[in-house]
């Protein structure tokens, strides 16, 4: 700053507009008693596959819905719609090919959903381990997926996703015998980035970890219901 200029203090959060809409979404979720889980991962880690196997495994009359974000195509929505749950596909192309979902995109998607008829809403974020971590959507929890084919060190390369997540799901664990993969190294990297992050090691095809994942979801739903 020079004598010729002066500073006018402001102090606001740059993402205030997003966070305001996220708060509004959160209020709507609470009023409707819906637990919202935001799945975040690289492309191809298995978010859609996880949902394909989670939806039929939901017990006790849990009514679920899904908001799917992709840059283009409705392929994921088509895969999920066969499970007879409401699915809203957001293609971010319309928003300039954005690499993540923002609170306003979720708010728009909610127009197509009857929240009161849902207990659980999954948000399948755009496949990207960087940008979705920065945006609050009003969800109850972010879950970070990491497939073993991505290598052991993704948690320390993309730490924020694993720091803001409340659960890490390690997918495709049945492939480990076919890979030169060091499970302990992956565990140590996760521990380093976020020592308090619970972890489920999972294979959709052997069923390993699926019970633990369903139990985590049930606990989240119970807590969300209490808060709502």
């Amino acid at each position: 700053m020079t004598d010729a200029t002066r500073r006018i203090p402001v102090i606001t959060r740059i993402l205030e507009a997003n966070d305001r809409v996220a708060d509004e979404n959160r209020r709507r979720f609470a009023e409707a008693g819906v637990c919202v889980v935001n799945l975040v991962s690289s492309p191809g880690a298995g978010k859609t596959t996880l949902l394909e196997h989670t939806l039929p495994a939901l017990r006790g009359g849990v009514r679920a819905g899904v908001i799917v974000g992709d840059i283009a195509t409705t392929r994921d929505a088509e895969r999920l719609a066969v499970h007879d749950v409401p699915v809203v596909q957001i293609t971010t192309e319309a928003f300039g090919g954005s690499c993540h979902l923002e609170a306003t995109t979720i708010r728009q998607a909610l127009d197509a959903l009857d929240l009161d008829s849902l207990d659980l809403l999954f948000v399948e974020n755009v496949g990207n381990l960087v940008c979705p971590a920065e945006f609050d959507l009003g969800e109850h929890a972010k879950v970070a997926l990491l497939s073993v084919t991505e290598g052991e060190d993704k948690p320390i390369k993309y730490p924020l996703a694993f720091q803001v997540a409340e659960l890490a799901v390690i997918t495709k664990i049945d492939l480990v015998p076919h890979l030169r993969y060091d499970l302990d190294a992956m565990r140590a990297f996760l521990e380093k980035v976020n020592p308090r992050l619970p972890r489920v090691e999972m294979s959709i095809y052997t069923g390993q970890g699926l019970d633990a994942w369903m139990a985590w979801l049930e606990e989240k739903m119970a807590r969300a219901a209490k808060r709502g």
Binding site: T5, R6, I8, I11, H100, C131, I156, P159, L160
Partner: protein, 118 residues
Amino acid sequence: MHEASIAQSLLDQVEQVMAGPAFEGVTGRLVRVHVRIGRMTAVVPDVLRFMWAAMVDGTAIEGVALEIEEVPIRARCNGCGEEQEFVDIGFVCGRCGSTDVEITSGRELNLVSLEVES
């Protein structure tokens, strides 16, 4: 490339501030926008600067510079109470070795001030 959305949000905010009470009676030209970006955000300062320049191009505030202050990652140990700076991820208290640490700074993404000609 979420820096584009962040630059857009920033531009919206700057325009709002300039139209609001904080700018009443201000006649000097806006020359610089000051922001604070924590090192624990997924924001690359150079990319944000580039996006900002592209975003303000052709607007009333074309050419206004973006000044980024980077905020280091600091955390307080819940074990021994020591507060320290972390340059690398892997939050282990340098004093007692505990991993139970609370981040106290580094997640900032704030507009701080608008610098105008006086």
